[in-house]
C-alpha cells in the first residue's frame, strides 16, 4: 500500500514535470533565439536607454493598474457584498461583464469617443477598467466564504463596523486581493492591444515591434526574457507580500447570513461608484459598438459572422478543456501536501502567463511546423490557448484548494481515508466550482486572443478576433463592429455564469462534512 502510494506520487510528479516542460516551450524558444546574440550584444541591448525607458514605463503602468485594482476593486467588491444597494444583481453582473470585452475593443470604443486618447495614463485607465473584474471576482468569492459568525462575535465584542472590516474581514481576503493583483498585473505585462493603440511602448510592444521586423528574432527574444524576469520578480514579490494566511471557516450555514449595512449615505456612495464603473466599462463600449453597427448594418455577411463565431467558440472551448486537463496534475499534487513542488510549478506557470501571444505563437510555429498536418490545426491553436492561459485555471485551482479547511482533511484522515481518496472525495468536490471558474476564464480569454490565433489558426479559418483585426487593420471600424459586438455578447454568457451564486457548492460541503 505504502509502496504503491509512493509510485503513484512519482508518477504524479512525472506528469507535473511533463506539463511544465510542455508549457515551457515558449520560454525554451526565447532562450534558443536569444542565444543567436553574443553576450556583448545582449548586454548592450538590455542596458541601452530605450530598453530602460520601456522597462520603467511598463513597471509604472503595472504599479498604477495594480494599485487601482487593490483599492478600487476591493472597495467595489466590499460595496457589492456588505452594503445594501439597489439592484445588487445587475450591478454585480455589470462589474464582471467587462471581462467579455477584449482590451483592443475596449480601446477602440473609447477612442471612438475621445480620439485624442493616448499615453500612459490613458493606458492605465483602460487597463484598470478591463482588469478590475479579476479583482472583484476574486475578492467577492472570498467575501462569500467568510464565516459571518466571526463578524457577529467581533461586533458583540464592541468593534465598530469599520474595525470589523479592517481587522476581521480584510485579513481573511488578503490572499484573494493578492491573487487579483497578480492576475491584473500579469495582464498588464502581456497586454498588446490597448497599449499599442494608445501609443504606449511597453515591453510587449517592443517585442512585437522587434519580431514584426521579423528579421531580429534574437533581439525580440532578449526583450522577451527581460519581460519574463520582470514577471518573475512581480510574482515573487506578490507571494512575499501575501504572507501567511489566516482563514476561518465555521459551521455550514453561517455564510448565508450576511447583514448588509444599510446606512443611506454609504449606500448611495457605493451605488454611485459601482454604477459609474459599470457605465465606463460596460455601457460606453456597448453603446459605441451598437451605434457603429447601426451606422453600417447593410454590409454584415451573416454567414461569415456565424462561421467565425462557431470557430471561435469551438477552439476556445477546446483550449479551455486542454488547460483544465493540464491543470489537474498540478492541482492533485497540491492536495497531496507536496507543497514545495506544487508552489514552484504554480509560480512557473504564473510567470509564463506574462509572455505575450506573439511569443507563444512563434514558439509554437517553430515547434509545431514539424508536426505535419497537426500544424495549423485547431488542436495546436487550442493547445496554444491552454499554454497562454493555464495560469488562470491554475490560479483558480489553487485558490479552490486553499479553501478546503485542513480540519476537514484531518477528519477524513482520522476516518481512515487515504490521501488519494481524501483528494477524490473531499477536496475535489469542494474545489470543483472553482475549477469550473478556471475553465470559464480560460474559455473567455481564449475567445479574445489575437496574435497567437493569427499565426496558428488553420489557413482560411476566421475567428471573431481575426475578423475584427482584418477590418481594423485597414481602418474599417464600422465593419468590425458586428464582429466585436458578437464576440462581446458570446463572451458575456460565461461571464454571466461566473456571477451566479454558488448554492450547489455549499450542498457539496454539507455532504462532505458528514463523511
Amino acid at each position: 500500500m505504502k509502496r504503491e502510494n509512493r509510485l503513484g506520487s512519482y508518477g504524479l510528479r512525472a506528469l507535473v514535470a511533463g506539463v511544465l516542460i510542455t508549457i515551457s516551450q515558449p520560454l525554451i524558444y526565447l532562450f534558443i533565439r536569444a542565444s543567436d546574440k553574443s553576450g556583448q550584444e545582449i548586454l548592450a541591448l538590455i542596458t541601452r536607454q530605450k530598453t530602460l525607458d520601456v522597462l520603467a514605463l511598463t513597471l509604472l503602468l503595472l504599479v498604477i493598474v495594480v494599485l487601482v485594482n487593490v483599492f478600487l476593486g476591493t472597495a467595489i467588491a466590499a460595496g457589492l457584498h456588505y452594503v445594501k444597494i439597489p439592484y445588487p444583481r445587475i450591478l454585480l453582473v455589470s462589474t464582471i461583464l467587462p471581462l467579455a470585452i477584449p482590451s483592443y475593443v475596449f480601446t477602440y470604443t473609447w477612442m471612438a469617443i475621445f480620439p485624442e486618447l493616448e499615453g500612459v495614463w490613458a493606458a492605465a485607465f483602460i487597463l484598470s477598467l478591463s482588469t478590475m473584474p479579476y479583482m472583484i471576482l476574486a475578492v467577492t468569492i472570498s467575501f462569500q466564504r467568510i464565516d459571518s459568525g466571526l463578524i457577529e462575535v467581533a461586533r458583540s465584542l464592541g468593534l465598530s463596523k469599520s474595525a470589523v472590516f479592517t481587522r476581521v474581514i480584510l485579513p481573511q481576503v488578503r490572499r484573494s486581493i493578492s491573487a487579483g493583483a497578480l492576475l491584473s498585473g500579469l495582464y498588464v505585462l502581456s497586454d498588446f492591444g490597448a497599449v499599442s493603440l494608445l501609443n504606449v511602448e511597453t515591453l510587449t510592444v517592443s517585442i512585437q515591434n522587434l519580431f514584426k521586423s521579423s528579421y531580429d528574432r534574437g533581439a525580440a527574444s532578449v526583450i522577451g526574457i527581460l519581460l519574463f524576469l520582470a514577471a518573475a520578480i512581480f510574482v515573487l514579490f506578490e507571494s512575499i507580500l501575501k504572507g501567511r494566511d489566516f482563514e476561518s471557516r465555521g459551521a455550514e450555514g453561517f455564510q448565508e447570513r450576511i447583514r448588509r449595512i444599510s446606512n443611506p449615505g454609504l449606500s448611495t456612495f457605493a451605488f454611485l461608484v459601482i454604477a459609474l464603473y459599470g457605465f465606463l466599462a460596460v455601457v460606453i463600449p456597448f453603446y459605441v459598438l451598437i451605434s457603429r453597427y447601426l451606422q453600417n448594418p447593410s454590409v454584415v455577411a451573416f454567414s461569415d459572422l456565424f462561421a467565425a463565431a462557431l470557430s471561435t467558440v469551438s477552439v476556445a472551448g477546446l483550449g479551455a478543456f486542454i488547460a483544465f486537463i493540464l491543470s489537474l496534475p498540478l492541482a492533485l499534487l497540491a492536495t497531496q501536501g507536496s507543497s514545495a513542488v506544487a508552489a514552484i510549478s504554480g509560480k512557473v506557470i504564473l510567470i509564463s502567463h506574462a509572455l505575450p501571444g506573439v511569443v507563444v505563437g512563434l514558439a509554437l510555429v517553430s515547434f509545431g511546423s514539424r508536426l505535419g498536418p497537426l500544424y495549423q490545426s485547431i488542436f495546436l491553436l487550442a493547445f496554444a490557448y491552454a499554454v497562454l492561459f493555464l495560469a488562470k485555471s491554475v490560479a483558480s485551482t489553487s485558490a479552490a484548494l486553499t479553501l478546503v479547511s485542513p480540519q476537514l482533511k484531518e477528519v477524513a484522515a482520522t476516518l481512515g481515508k487515504g490521501k488519494s481518496s481524501i483528494a477524490m472525495q473531499v477536496v475535489f468536490p469542494i474545489a470543483l466550482p472553482n475549477l469550473a471558474l478556471g475553465v470559464l476564464l480560460v474559455f473567455l480569454t481564449a475567445m479574445k486572443e489575437l496574435p497567437a490565433t493569427l499565426m496558428l489558426r488553420p489557413t482560411g479559418m476566421d475567428t471573431l478576433a481575426t475578423e475584427i483585426w482584418s477590418f481594423a487593420a485597414i481602418s474599417r471600424f464600422n465593419e468590425a463592429a458586428p464582429y466585436a459586438l458578437l464576440l462581446v455578447i458570446i463572451a458575456a454568457i460565461p461571464t454571466f455564469l461566473l456571477t451566479i451564486p454558488r448554492a450547489a457548492q455549499s450542498d457539496i460541503e454539507k455532504k462532505v462534512s458528514y463523511l
Binding site: 504524479l12 541601452r48 485624442e116 521586423s213 521579423s214 486537463i325 505535419g372 487515504g418
Partner: protein, 340 residues
C-alpha cells in the same frame, strides 16, 4: 484512486501521441493533379480577395489563403523553414520578401514568369516578382503647410518641428530607411533619424494612423505610402483634408516600393504558382489593381491611379529593391537611435 489519475493521464498522452502519428502518416498528395494552392498573404483580405476569387474561377484551383501582416508572415515562414505549408508568399513590401529570399526559402523563377513587369521591380536573382507599385510620399494638410519640403532632409528643419509623423515600426518606413542607408550611407541615415527625433517627429504604429492624425490636425505632415490617403478616406466614407506630396525628383523620399510575390522552394506546385503570378502581372489584372486599390501598375507605360502622376514622372530614386532585404542594419540603426 491516485493510480487511476496517473493511468488516465498516461492514456490521454497516448491518445494524443497516437493521434499525431496517425495524422502524420496519413498525408501524401504528390504526383496528382493540383487542386489547391496555399498562399500566405500580407495583403489585406478586403483588397486582394476579389483578385483571388477571379483566379479561382478562371483556373478551377482552390486557394487556401492565410492572411496576416507581411512582416509577421515572413517571421512565421522563417520559423517554419522547410516545413512551411505555404506554396506562395504575397507580401506588401519588398523587405519581407527579401528576408524570406535571404534565408534561401524562395525558388528561382524561370525567365518568362511575370514577363510584363519592368525589370527593376523584379529581384535580381528572380526569387520574387513585383506585383504593384507603392510610392512613398509626404501626406499633408494643404491649409497647414505653406512651405512644402523638397527633400526628406528638409523635414529636420525648425519649421517642421513637432509637425511630422513617422511609423518606425512599420515595414514601409523601414524599407525607406534601408534605401536611405544604401544610398547615402549609415552615418547620414543615423544623423537624419536623430535629427528627426530631435525635431519632435511624432511616432505612430501605422501609415493610416498618420493620415488620420493629419486629418484631425494633430500633425501637419507624415511620411506614408501614397494610397493611404485614398484608403483612409474610403474607410471614413468621406473626403479628408489630406493630400499626397512628392519631394524633388530623385530624392530618396520618393522611393517606389513594391508589393510582390515569391514561390516557396519547398512547394510541389511550382507550375500552378507560376500561373498565379502570370495572372497577377497580366495587363488586365494590373489595370484592375490601379482602379480598385489605387496602386501603381508595374507594366511600363501603364496608367497611373486617379489624381496621381505617372510612375515615370515621380522621379523615384534608382534603388535596387533587392537591396532592401538588408533590413537588419536598419533595425539595428532604428534600435540604436531609440526609434524602435
Amino acid at each position: 484512486m491516485k493510480k487511476s489519475w496517473v493511468v488516465a493521464g498516461v492514456a490521454v498522452a497516448a491518445l494524443i501521441l497516437g493521434g499525431v502519428s496517425w495524422v502524420v502518416s496519413g498525408s501524401d498528395s504528390s504526383g496528382e493533379q493540383v487542386k489547391e494552392l496555399t498562399i500566405y498573404s500580407g495583403r489585406s483580405e478586403e483588397f486582394i480577395a476579389p483578385f483571388f476569387a477571379d483566379w479561382e474561377q478562371e483556373s478551377g484551383i482552390k486557394l487556401n489563403v492565410r492572411y496576416g501582416d507581411s512582416a509577421e508572415l515572413a517571421a512565421q515562414i522563417l520559423e517554419e523553414g522547410a516545413n512551411s505549408p505555404a506554396d506562395v508568399f504575397l507580401s506588401q513590401d519588398a523587405g519581407s520578401l527579401g528576408a524570406v529570399s535571404a534565408a534561401g526559402l524562395f525558388t528561382t523563377l524561370p525567365a518568362g514568369v511575370g514577363g510584363q513587369i519592368e525589370d527593376i521591380y523584379i529581384a535580381a536573382d528572380r526569387s520574387w516578382i513585383g506585383v504593384t507599385g507603392r510610392a512613398r510620399v509626404f501626406a499633408y494638410r494643404p491649409a497647414a503647410v505653406s512651405v512644402l519640403p523638397q527633400s526628406v532632409a528638409d523635414l529636420t528643419k525648425p519649421i517642421y518641428k513637432g509637425r511630422v509623423g513617422i511609423a518606425p515600426s512599420n515595414a514601409s518606413f523601414q524599407a525607406f530607411v534601408t534605401a536611405l542607408i544604401n544610398e547615402k550611407g549609415a552615418q547620414f541615415a543615423e544623423n537624419w533619424l536623430k535629427a528627426m527625433k530631435a525635431n519632435g517627429a511624432q511616432i505612430y504604429l501605422k501609415n493610416s494612423a498618420i493620415v488620420e492624425a493629419i486629418d484631425k490636425g494633430e500633425i501637419d505632415l507624415g511620411l506614408v505610402n501614397h494610397y493611404y490617403t485614398w484608403e483612409v478616406s474610403q474607410a471614413l466614407g468621406r473626403d479628408i483634408d489630406v493630400k499626397n506630396g512628392f519631394f524633388s525628383p530623385g530624392d530618396i523620399g520618393n522611393l517606389v516600393n513594391v508589393s510582390g510575390v515569391g514561390v516557396m522552394a519547398t512547394s510541389e506546385k511550382q507550375q500552378v504558382a507560376q500561373d498565379l503570378i502570370n495572372y497577377l502581372t497580366s495587363e488586365v489584372v494590373q489595370a484592375k489593381f490601379v482602379a480598385d486599390t489605387h496602386e501603381y501598375s508595374l507594366i511600363p507605360g501603364a496608367k497611373a491611379p486617379a489624381t496621381l502622376p505617372e510612375l515615370k514622372s515621380i522621379g523615384s530614386p534608382k534603388v535596387d529593391l533587392a537591396s532592401l532585404e538588408k533590413v537588419q542594419a536598419t533595425q539595428d540603426l532604428l534600435t540604436k537611435v531609440g526609434l524602435l
